[in-house]
């Protein structure tokens, strides 16, 4: 095992927190626990046998916390968020929202998917009104609220457009306010920016933090992008694969408000080095041998490097 950069003494430890960061974490932990996951397990049964996807997952989030979940593919992070959303049955343990066990989907947990999932037959405004209407809001009330939410993300001009007329970033903004319009206790986001190009993704990250600051919402955000996790999150839940287990719950030592410039700060790099180390450890066995050395198929004199 190669020593990580932090072990080599080039970076501070990811556990070192400046005073204001530590105070912030104290404040977060003093808030109510919104979501508590206890001994959560998930087993898939198929014709070839049973697969343990999640094993003994425990964590909790506080009100208005931003929790990121990272892990290599196969660690069950999507399964985890789908169980939290109620789209998948859990095999064991429990999920408590405000101390009450939840089962099945409900408006108290909003969800944003990677594939936008806007209803193509509804205009942008009607998409945002959907949750309000199925929960019994009157038409004009729902419309007023929907327009307010669209204003929040600067899309009021597109209220009467159809989703196919919007860009990927705009679609995802609509999907976010569609989920928020229901005023859920918690917003679950499953790699929401995974399909966006790098520039749009960066702008959406800033935008999401803006929204999060302005409203009372707790966010659980799944990503495989470590920079994104550090940039957005208060804490990062690292899962290991086969079966999915909690490897570590890291407190991000980077100050808020977050800016793109922070990605060269020592504390940012320290957190990233730790994440890379954890993920490297857990993927090493399955992945490293999978890539063979490539035989040379060009002229010896013709080097590209």
């Amino acid at each position: 095992m190669t020593p990580s950069r932090s072990e080599a003494g080039l970076l501070p430890s990811y556990l070192d927190q400046s005073d204001d960061v530590r105070e912030r974490f104290d404040r977060i932990k003093a808030r109510d626990v919104i979501l508590k996951v206890e001994r959560l397990g998930k087993t898939f049964r198929s014709a070839v046998g049973t697969t343990l996807a999640l094993d003994d997952i425990n964590f909790s989030t506080h009100r208005r916390e931003f929790l990121c979940v990272v892990g290599p593919s196969g660690c069950g992070k999507s399964t985890l968020i789908r169980i939290l959303a109620g789209l998948e049955e859990k095999s064991g343990g429990q999920v408590l929202l405000h101390g009450r066990p939840v089962s099945g989907p409900g408006r108290d947990r909003g969800m944003v998917f990677q594939g936008y999932t806007l209803f193509p037959w509804l205009t942008v405004k009607k998409n945002v009104m959907f949750g309000l209407e199925v929960n019994g809001a009157a038409g004009d009330q729902a419309e007023r609220e929907a327009l307010q939410w669209l204003q929040l993300v600067g899309l009021e001009k597109f209220a009467n457009a159809y989703p196919h007329q919007l860009s990927g970033g705009m679609k995802q903004r609509v999907a976010i306010v569609r989920a928020l319009a229901n005023q859920p206790r918690i917003l679950l986001m499953d790699e929401p920016f995974g399909a966006l190009d790098a520039q749009t993704r960066a702008r959406m990250q800033d935008h999401l933090l803006e929204i999060w600051k302005k409203i009372d919402i707790t966010i659980i955000f799944i990503t495989h992008d470590l920079d994104e996790a550090i940039f957005l999150g208060d804490r990062i839940l690292v899962l290991s694969p086969h079966p999915g287990r909690v490897q570590e719950l890291i407190e991000v030592p980077v100050r808020r408000p977050r800016t793109a410039m922070q990605c060269i700060l020592p504390e940012f790099l320290a957190a990233k080095a730790r994440l890379e180390e954890l993920i490297h450890q857990s993927t090493a066995d399955d992945e490293r041998e999978a890539y063979p050395a490539v035989a040379r198929l060009t002229d010896v004199a013709d080097d590209v490097e």
Binding site: P105, G115, F130, G131, N135, N182
Partner: protein
């Protein structure tokens, strides 16, 4: 030229239009050549002058070989030979004859007293199709959607429907007459039997193809069972459902002729069989053409309508 034949190449609007015109122009051109160029095919001779052969009459058609030997025989005996022009068999009228018959069918009253105008026959046929398709849809559309949406309903209905759709609808003709009499009842029944079972399966499949993520999104927004069906499944499949219905309506038309032969022959089928009996083949072709024009016209109107009805549907931009 090579560029036109690249796989999945989109055509320019101009090329699309021109090739579309060709699709009709080519078969008509072929028909014209066979009809108007005597050197092509024309296996018979239309007698214009019987000459000395007493069994020939003006307007009769006979095979060219028989005619040639008749001419040779007459010449050898020094009699006046029969005269004639090369012609096609009576069952292949020329485009102009069919066009004239087409026009006349709307302008001249039917020759026999019990005869019907072409449009009257057609109108009767359209009514049969309408009722058959309507009854089939009233049962088939909801049942198909329910089968696609709920696994138990699918398991309960689909195996039997799969079995039943292999039974040829016309086989139920005699039964339908025995139960429903000889008029329109059994004809409509045949259309229903021919359409319904395919309809249930096709619509069930269309419903199953709905993006499951949309249903999940609705669930996380708090939608419950009946709301899911009404607010997500139904609008989600509507453009595809509409396309299915267009295709099924075409199938219903193909059952029409068989259906109308059952019991008392009626509608366009009656017109066609009647005209064929009197060897008025131009009329037969005019009637067949009329069915094609009606079918294609109806489908084009429905296609245009779907653009108005489903402005969000992206697959529309690709097709048509």
């Amino acid at each position: 030229m090579m560029k036109l034949f690249q796989l999945h190449m989109a055509l320019s609007p101009r090329a699309k239009f021109l090739i579309g015109v060709l699709s009709f122009a080519l078969p008509i051109a072929l028909w014209c050549i066979v009809s108007y160029v005597p050197a092509v095919w024309h296996p018979q001779v239309l007698i214009t002058n019987a000459g000395s052969t007493d069994y020939l009459q003006i307007g009769m058609r006979m095979d060219r070989q028989a005619f040639d030997s008749e001419v040779a025989g007459a010449k050898a005996e020094g009699r006046a030979p029969p005269e004639g022009v090369r012609s096609n068999p009576i069952y292949l009228p020329s485009p102009s004859e069919v066009a004239a018959a087409f026009y006349q069918s709307f302008t001249t009253p039917p020759p026999t007293q019990d005869g019907e105008w072409l449009h009257q026959s057609l109108w009767h046929s359209i009514q049969i199709i309408f009722w058959g398709f309507l009854i089939s849809s009233i049962i088939g559309v909801p049942l198909g959607i329910l089968c696609g949406a709920y696994a138990p309903i699918s398991r309960l209905f689909e195996p039997f429907v799969e079995f039943f759709r292999y039974l040829p609808a016309p086989a139920f003709g005699a039964l339908a007459v025995a139960i429903l009499g000889i008029y329109d009842g059994p004809k409509i029944t045949i259309i229903v039997i021919g359409t319904l079972f395919q309809q249930i399966l096709i619509i069930a499949n269309t419903t199953r193809k709905l993006d499951g993520a949309l249903v999940e999104a609705a669930l996380t927004l708090g939608a419950k069972n009946s709301q899911l069906l009404r607010r997500v499944v139904l609008p989600g499949i509507l453009p595809d459902l509409y396309r299915d219905q267009r295709i099924l309506l075409g199938w219903a038309w193909t059952y029409l002729i068989v259906a109308e032969l059952i019991g008392t022959t009626s509608g366009i089928t009656w017109f066609i069989t009647q005209q064929a009996r009197y060897q008025h083949f131009p009329n037969v072709y005019a009637a067949i053409t009329m069915i094609g024009i009606l079918g294609l016209g109806m489908d084009m109107i429905l296609a245009l309508l779907s653009r108005r009805l489903f402005p969000w549907d992206r697959s529309l931009a690709k097709s048509n």
